[in-house]
């Protein structure tokens, strides 16, 4: 070893250098350490592959009067100051302070963000979150959500009968719908004064390059399957799916369909890049209110899709009772009517229509918000897919989207 240099005279610097020398690590030691940490990291990476469902966190609701609620944008009543009137009323009534997070922009992206925490049973930053049914079905399959306690949600009796017993969650033991909507068709009334009536009308050569569809597979392919005469709720298989897939990929390849998008399809309608589209019911009402009354929505003649965004309590949440109290509150018909009037989606709460009649009879007659039995008979939920189907169908759908 080469002779050490004189230590500097400044006492502080001296001390620092002495400490530094004490900490010195030989090159071998360092390499060994680096190797060991790399190996440890590799092992740590491996360990996330376990598959035992996580256990639910302990409920601290009694002492912890807070709640984090993750939801989609523009999905709750909002006043001009950006407050949420129904939520404020809930906080006053129950003393639970709610942190409302506009965190969900896409089922898949949200899932990708939280899946590791869910698998480890950790808190995902939300005590309740509203995701679309098919994603909720996946969460339930994996054991990522907690059982709901009916005793805390007496208003569950107000749940619309048609939604009470879905195939993915018999008896609604773990989930409760928040809002629903229809997948249908819409068009620009100025550009297309005659309108369109069926999904096949979208394939009119005059609309080439001006048609948009949703990147939500179940809505886009569901509508095409309905057009092909398939009962999407019933027992269909990969032949029926394939037939719809062929139509879809042909229209994308020919350039008839120019846009395949999620929530951002509204920008394309507003900028008139898209003149006719497969879209969601509530959005068109909002778009007309914001950018002039130019668009019209319709459930196609062959039928539309019906989906619901659904409350669940993730395994890692320690505030389940608070979440249940919130659900119970939003299942009061009067509250549900107030929310429905603002978000323009279909409320799952029976009695909300009557409550809305008291506020605004015209609103109560709107079939896209308070559908009657005739309207409900034209829309169909997409049946749950098995894990294998989900993997296969999504892969084919994405293949078309990637060109």
């Amino acid at each position: 070893m080469s002779p050490r240099r004189e230590l500097p005279t400044d006492p502080m610097v001296r001390e620092i250098v002495r400490q530094a020398r004490a900490w010195q690590v030989g090159r071998r030691g360092f390499l060994a350490g680096a190797g060991a940490s790399a190996a440890a990291l590799a092992l740590a990476a491996c360990s996330t592959g376990t598959s035992a469902p996580p256990t639910a966190a302990k409920d601290n609701s009694a002492s912890d009067k807070t709640l984090n609620w993750a939801n989609w944008p523009a999905y709750i009543d909002e006043d001009d100051d950006g407050n949420y009137p129904t939520l404020d009323a809930f906080e006053q009534q129950t003393g639970i302070s709610v942190n409302y997070l506009v965190d969900v922009d896409d089922n898949n992206t949200y899932y990708a963000k939280v899946r590791d925490q869910l698998a480890l049973g950790q808190d995902i930053g939300a005590d309740t979150v509203c995701l679309t049914e098919w994603m909720v079905a996946r969460l339930i399959r994996f054991g990522y959500v907690q059982d709901l306690d009916e005793a805390n949600i007496p208003n569950k009796k107000n749940l619309t009968a048609t939604l009470a017993d879905p195939d993915f969650d018999p008896g609604r033991a773990k989930s409760l719908p928040w809002q629903g909507g229809f997948g249908g068709i819409c068009w620009n009334k100025e550009a297309l004064p005659d309108g369109i009536r069926t999904v096949s009308d979208l394939w009119n050569p005059e609309l080439k390059g001006r048609v948009g569809v949703l990147s939500e597979m179940r809505d886009t392919l569901g509508l095409i399957m309905l057009e092909n005469g398939v009962d999407i709720t019933g027992d269909w298989g990969s032949d029926e799916f394939q037939a719809a897939m062929d139509t879809f990929s042909e229209q994308v390849a020919s350039g008839q369909i120019a846009a395949v998008k999620g929530n951002s399809y509204l920008e394309d309608l507003a900028s008139e890049n898209t003149l006719a589209a497969i879209c969601w019911s509530g959005d068109i009402t909002v778009l007309n209110a914001e950018s002039g009354d130019k668009w019209e929505f319709m459930v196609p003649e062959a039928g539309g899709t019906f989906w619901n965004d659904t409350f669940v309590v993730p395994v890692g949440s320690t505030r389940k009772t608070n979440a249940e109290t919130l659900m119970n509150y939003y299942y009061e018909p009067e509250v549900a009517a107030q929310v429905a009037a603002w978000v323009n989606y279909v409320t799952p709460v029976a009695g909300a229509k009557e409550a809305a009649e008291a506020i605004d009879p015209e609103l109560a007659a709107n079939q896209l918000i308070f559908p009657d039995d005739d309207t409900l008979s034209t829309v169909h939920p997409f049946r749950s897919l098995t894990a294998q189907e989900e993997t296969e169908f999504q892969a084919e759908f994405q293949k078309v989207l990637l060109g």
């Binding site: 010195q24 598959s51 898949n108 998008k261 994405q398």
Partner: protein
């Protein structure tokens, strides 16, 4: 080979010096090494391990087990070769166009405006100004400007650059346009840095020796600015090849224009096919590393990068 291209040339460094300061230097490097190990090496190991995972037998969506399934690489190349080629094609086109735009710009700022230092600084600020607004917002703004009913598209249709029923958004040209727009500053700044140091007496010497302007440019200016060109093209090409915003369906692209980044995104976020996404990322990384190594060797500027 790739590593060698990046290795600094230490042959000339005095050996005794390094030995004496070795341990202290190593100690001082610990934070940096720890940082790299934690945020670069560990994710890289995890990425490589993930890329060899195999789907679990009778498993649900997104369930994979550690294995050595090298077929993942063959599978993704077979499935996504158009996107891979498109990525490199678009990135190359964008780099060349950005160079053509940036070189005169950097020359103007760095050489022509040399005497007016205030104007020079203002011009530099203008080059950097777009960074004050988010990348996503600027790309969305272009989407609005170039939308189907916009005056620009109508004008292009009027002069038959776009046929009836053809639009700009969603075409490969739109994606390359977006890449060029977003990466021009990365090309301009290194070019400026090397041209700004250009000794104007050398240009005078060139004309004294009866060289015309073009010959002077070819034999004096261009060789002296090679370091700027190399770093500018690297700073443009590497991120452009991995870019997935411009080519995304939600921005300037369409299904016909999706690049490798979009395939990674779809596999990771939607399909939950992590091994495929990881294998694609490693292919992208490897391909860029090889291309860049060859490029740096060829341009003979190893010491400068």
């Amino acid at each position: 080979m790739a590593i060698a291209a990046f290795a600094p040339t230490t042959a000339g460094a005095p050996q005794g010096e390094t030995k004496r300061g070795g341990r202290t230097a190593l100690f001082l490097l610990i934070p940096c090494i720890a940082y790299l190990a934690l945020f670069f090496l560990a994710p890289l190991i995890s990425l490589v391990l993930t890329s060899f995972q195999a789907p679990r037998l009778y498993g649900d969506i997104g369930q994979y087990d550690y294995a050595f399934r090298w077929e993942n690489y063959a599978d993704v190349i077979g499935e996504y070769w158009p996107q891979i080629l498109r990525s490199f094609g678009c990135a190359l086109a964008a780099t060349v166009i950005a160079l053509i735009i940036s070189y005169p710009l950097a020359y103007f700022i760095g050489v022509t405006m040399r005497r007016y230092s205030l104007a020079q600084s203002l011009l530099l600020v203008l080059v950097v100004a777009p960074f004050f607004i988010s990348f996503l917002l600027r790309t969305l703004a272009w989407k609005q400007i170039l939308s189907n009913e916009s005056p620009i598209v109508h004008a292009l249709q009027a002069v038959s650059l776009l046929g009836p029923g053809e639009y700009f958004i969603g075409s490969p040209a739109a994606v390359i346009f977006g890449l060029v727009y977003n990466f021009v500053p990365f090309m301009t700044l290194p070019l400026y840095a090397s041209l700004e140091r250009l000794d104007s007496r050398l240009l005078e010497a060139g004309s004294d020796l009866y060289a015309n302007a073009f010959t002077t440019f070819r034999t004096v200016t261009l060789p002296l600015s090679i370091p700027g060109i190399v770093s500018g093209t690297l700073l443009t090409f590497i991120p452009a090849a991995g870019d997935y915003i411009n080519a995304s369906r939600d921005f300037l692209g369409s299904p016909d224009t999706s690049m490798l980044g979009n395939a990674v995104e779809a596999n990771f976020l939607v399909l939950q096919n992590f091994p495929a996404a990881a294998a694609l990322s490693i292919i992208l990384m490897g391909a860029i590393l090889i291309l860049v190594a060859v490029y740096v060797r060829r341009s003979g500027t190893d010491e400068l990068v």
